[in-house]
């Protein structure tokens, strides 16, 4: 313990100057701007005892909003997996004409500020919009329903899947597939055993990143979602509603649940990913 403290203060093994300055700045920076506010979030609900926390747990509107957020994020991330895989494949292996432009387009949802994507998607998918009108003719209403939430989350989540799969796909040698084919593997065997197996870990990571982003997403969703309690109200919006009612305890309770579940989901995906990467490395 004492040795660890000494190592922490002296800078471990390196003789480079500047350790203590960098350490103090980093600790102050992360301490004041991350640890302190998060402590407030964790401590605040228990400040008045266990009673208020238990009372919040009876709030069915909160559970409905959390369910909407997690369900929509999961569906959107799941739908993004095949689309993202297809786009990454075409970018890396497809000899796509205009490849460089296509590659830049992938970053668009990432570059567009969320409020801008929000009002734009709402306009695009509204019953009078360019995409909403033909969809409405077919009897599908997207805007102001849960589908609207899913569409918005698919838009913001797509780059995460493409950008995590792409580098792995690039590093995957062509020769492996040819060797498998020469050794007598059937096309579907080549795809599932040789191509998809090493892509599974990045696909899981991409899914996880898109999911984590989707659960907390606010700006790009609220304009296109109907925001009806119990139907199309997402958890972050309910936090805002509670704050407008000056119900800090209610808002903090939802925020804490949101934070804990999304961190747990990220950790779970990390475990899953490690298991599958071991599986993918097997001959």
């Amino acid at each position: 313990m004492k040795r660890a403290c000494v190592a922490f203060w002296r800078g471990g093994d390196s003789a480079l100057p500047g350790y203590r300055l960098a350490l103090v700045v980093t600790l102050l920076w992360t301490g004041l701007f991350i640890a302190l506010p998060l402590c407030a979030l964790i401590i605040r609900p228990w400040q008045d005892g266990v009673g208020p926390v238990l009372a919040e747990l009876h709030d069915t509107r909160m559970f409905a909003a959390l369910w909407t957020s997690f369900f929509s994020a999961a569906v959107a991330a799941l739908l993004n997996v095949p689309i993202g895989l297809f786009l990454a494949w075409m970018l890396v292996r497809g000899n796509l004409p205009g490849q460089r432009i296509a590659d830049a387009l992938i970053d668009l949802p990432f570059a567009l500020p969320t409020a801008v994507s929000g009002i734009t998607l709402a306009t695009l998918y509204s019953p009078q919009g360019w995409l909403g009108y033909p969809l409405a003719k077919m009897g599908v209403s997207v805007a102001y329903t849960q589908w609207g939430i899913i569409i918005a989350l698919m838009f913001v989540g797509l780059p995460f899947v493409v950008r995590t799969v792409e580098p792995v796909l690039k590093a995957l040698p062509h020769e492996q597939e040819e060797a498998a084919r020469l050794l007598g593997a059937k096309p579907w065997q080549v795809i599932t055993r040789v191509v998809l197996a090493p892509l599974l870990p990045p696909l899981i990571t991409g899914f996880g990143l898109a999911f984590a982003r989707g659960v907390g997403e606010y700006g790009s969703v609220i304009f296109i979602a109907g925001n009806q309690p119990f139907k199309s109200e997402i958890a972050p919006l309910l936090i805002v509603v509670r704050l407008q009612e000056f119900d800090y305890d209610g808002a903090t309770a939802i925020a804490l649940v949101l934070l804990v579940i999304s961190l747990a989901a990220l950790a779970g995906i990390g475990v899953l990913r490690r298991r599958f990467s071991a599986w993918g490395a097997m001959p």
Partner: protein, 267 residues
């Protein structure tokens, strides 16, 4: 034949899903002509929003870049107990909902927060004022510079730095003359990502701002109030301006690579 069908499918997908939204921003902004949309930019509340966004962005970028460089130095050039925990901590804001990132500051500085009432009595306004907006923006943009610098500086190793130290260079000399010039592309990319996120942040800022037009509205918040007030042209004009600024920042990241390719062709 099959190949052309696949190319077609890819491009249809790219255009419908990704390219259509920015096109809609432009067409909606220009719905009643270029002059009408330019006229909406003269609104004093809009100008105030643009200024506030620029100020917030400059503060967030400068602060997080300086601290980010030092943190990346600490996390890559030394091995010490607690390093892994710090790495996780620095990336935390990325997995926190923007709304929660705003809420945490209200818990400290809001009317019902820990220190809010005391500061309020002393005449210092943080929540529903500009300092709150800055704090929320600092929080959400904190990870970007560190995140882009750490992989590169880790890959650098520390041999050159140790050689410079043996030759008698001090900390700042090593950092400014050895490490950062080498890591300049990663640093550039991190700064631009911070800029884009700081300008476009909506959820976190929305919670702490109080939405006072002309005073505490940044560009994204002003877009929201215009849109909700059915001022579609004004909302999309502001949106187009903000989107151009953020997209310029994001796409400028590939400029160093493009410049290198160009130089190669020249030689």
């Amino acid at each position: 034949m099959k190949k052309i069908a696949l190319w077609g499918a890819t491009w249809v997908l790219l255009v419908v899903v990704l390219l259509l939204p920015p096109i809609v921003v432009v067409t909606e902004a220009l719905k009643s002509g270029l002059l009408a949309s330019l006229a909406t930019l003269k609104d004093p509340d809009g100008i105030a929003a643009i200024w506030l966004t620029l100020e917030t962005t400059v503060v967030a970028v400068c602060f997080n870049t300086l601290c980010g460089i030092l943190a990346a130095w600490l996390l890559t050039k030394y091995r010490f107990p607690g390093r892994a925990a710090l790495l996780v901590m620095v990336e935390l804001p990325l997995s926190i909902s923007p709304v929660v990132s705003g809420l945490v500051w209200l818990l400290l500085f809001g009317a019902q927060g820990w220190w809010g009432p005391a500061l309020e009595r002393a005449g210092i306004h943080v929540a529903f004022a500009v300092p709150g907006i800055m704090l929320a923006t600092l929080f959400v943009t904190l990870p970007y510079v560190v995140r882009t610098l750490v992989p590169y500086m880790e890959h650098q190793g520390r041999d050159t730095e140790e050689a410079a130290a043996l030759a008698g260079a001090g900390f700042w000399q090593i950092l400014l003359r050895v490490t950062l010039p080498d890591a300049r592309v990663a640093l550039f990319s991190g700064v631009l990502l911070t800029t884009a996120r700081a300008m476009g942040e909506f959820g976190a800022v929305s919670v702490v701002s109080g939405h006072i037009p002309g005073l505490t509205e940044t560009m994204p918040l002003h877009i929201e109030s215009l849109y909700n007030g059915y001022q579609t042209v004004a909302a999309f004009t502001m949106a187009a301006l903000l989107a151009c600024m953020a997209m310029a920042a994001v796409f400028l990241r590939s400029a160093p690579a493009a410049w290198a390719r160009y130089r190669e062709v020249q030689e």
